[in-house]
Symmetry: C2
Subunit: 295 residues, 2 copies
């Protein structure tokens, strides 16, 4: 597939950071005949990125971005929210700039004053991998790519980012930054805490069992945990730095999501405690109906 003219993807695309998202972007764009110019932090990363062919040009000097018509900031959230002055100075004034951060309110607030053509966006794709080895082809196919424009967002810059997302096979969505952050709190950040607490709670329960005389309990829970426990704890056992960044930069929405979750769990617990079995079964039937709506 080549990029149709008029799609907004003519001219080189800049990618800042060649981790999972940046590296995957580079591979997909190059496969579509788009020139990719990448800026990375460390020389060792640059060398490995060149070996992997993640971009046409890879440098640790921000001047590499000169001439780009579109620049994607594929940086971790904490670096995105605290950009280096050299990076800011090197971003072409005429380029559309977008990011890939998983929280949008703080990013929009920080970046809109920094560049007139900034568009906040979030490709919702990932694997468990990170770093320069992580990038893969077709990561974005059939995944949502959410933009959160507001009244100050330039329509032509927004169209350039949409063209990028659609060229890579993403499903393009647009909503307010606050709505995005509430939604990802509920379906992405909350699950990390819910799932992590299951690991901590199971361990805590097993240790308490030993204190109560069930010496074998820690060994037993580890021997008996099966695919259901594996699935439910997968995101909780994931990248701790990422989980912390999400909670930190989406704090209010995550706390609101936790409050809704606690209410739901306490209702189930109350049904177990009060022998309300038909009511518990009705709630679990509601769960069974809800899940396909989300997937």
């Amino acid at each position: 597939m080549t990029i149709p003219s008029g799609s907004g993807l003519q001219g080189p695309v800049g990618v800042v950071g060649l981790g999972l998202i940046g590296g995957s972007l580079g591979l997909d764009l190059r496969a579509r005949g788009v020139e990719v110019r990448a800026l990375v932090h460390r020389q060792a990363t640059a060398e490995r990125a060149r070996e992997r062919g993640l971009a046409d040009v890879v440098e640790s000097d921000p001047a590499v971005l000169a001439g780009c018509r579109l620049v994607v900031l594929a940086l971790p959230l904490h670096r995105l929210l605290d950009p280096a002055p050299e990076l800011l100075a090197a971003l072409p004034a005429e380029a559309a700039i977008t990011d890939v951060g998983s929280v949008k309110g703080p990013v929009l607030e920080r970046w809109q004053p920094l560049h007139p053509r900034f568009v906040a966006s979030h490709p919702m794709a990932g694997t468990a991998q990170a770093g320069v080895e992580a990038g893969v082809r077709d990561l974005f196919v059939d995944r949502p790519w959410v933009a959160t424009p507001d009244a100050a967002t330039e329509p032509e810059a927004l169209a350039q980012v949409q063209a990028l997302a659609e060229a890579l096979g993403s499903r393009w969505l647009s909503c307010g930054a606050a709505e995005h952050d509430q939604a990802v709190a509920l379906i992405s950040h909350l699950p990390v805490l819910v799932s992590g607490a299951l690991l901590l709670g199971a361990d805590r329960g097993a240790v308490a069992g030993v204190a109560a005389g069930a010496q074998a309990l820690p060994e037993l829970v580890r021997a008996l945990a099966s695919s259901g426990f594996a699935d439910t704890t997968r995101v909780g056992g994931g990248n701790p730095e990422l989980g912390t960044l999400m909670a930190r930069h989406n704090q209010a929405a995550v706390l609101a999501a936790l409050a809704h979750y606690r209410q739901a769990l306490e209702a189930l617990e109350q049904q177990v405690r009060s022998n309300a079995w038909p009511e518990l079964q009705a709630e679990l039937e509601r769960c069974q109906q809800l899940r396909p709506e989300f997937l």
Copy 2:
């Protein structure tokens, strides 16, 4: 593979119920040259079970169990705990009897007075399927099969059940019924409630968002939910009747597990609320370390 003589599996094996577990037992035993005699509730089930070859003989008359040296009660928990008088009358006095229930304390208490050679056991294998179509070959391979004998359990009957489990490729484990029930509360029954509450909490949060002016939130959470949400909610979106039976018949251990879980989740929530980011990251690192211990 054939059954070695002296393994306790000579003579026909009786299977009561031909759902996922009973049907899979029948297929595996027949493939090993063991005669299987099955008792089912309904005539339509008997016909379909014969077509599928789940047993050598399938009847709805309990007399089919005559002559069996080992009988496996592969019944749902509520039927196991309230057995039909005709079934009790038909169980050969000389046969070893075992069950496959996922809770062991109530089963041992109910069945030990009913049959002198009863052995409480729990093959921890499953799929999302149920009913006469669900049985598959090799369901038990490399899965734990837990027995919970006590001082009254007859050693020779226990050895017969162990021979069955090992012939089917299971990993044989033995522990007290109370320990078993605490362990499965933590790693099997708790995850159902934790995971179901995530579906209910996400829906609750989205509905609250609408009330606060975020009209698109219910649609947005459904559009953005990805593999992490899918994994974390899988067991919560499962069989509601089964989830209710587990909670009902393992009530005390499930409530204790919920209390440990709540403490773990509240600690994480407190860290988010109080901006304790290094502490939150340390807890998520602990989660990352814990998970491989369980899997």
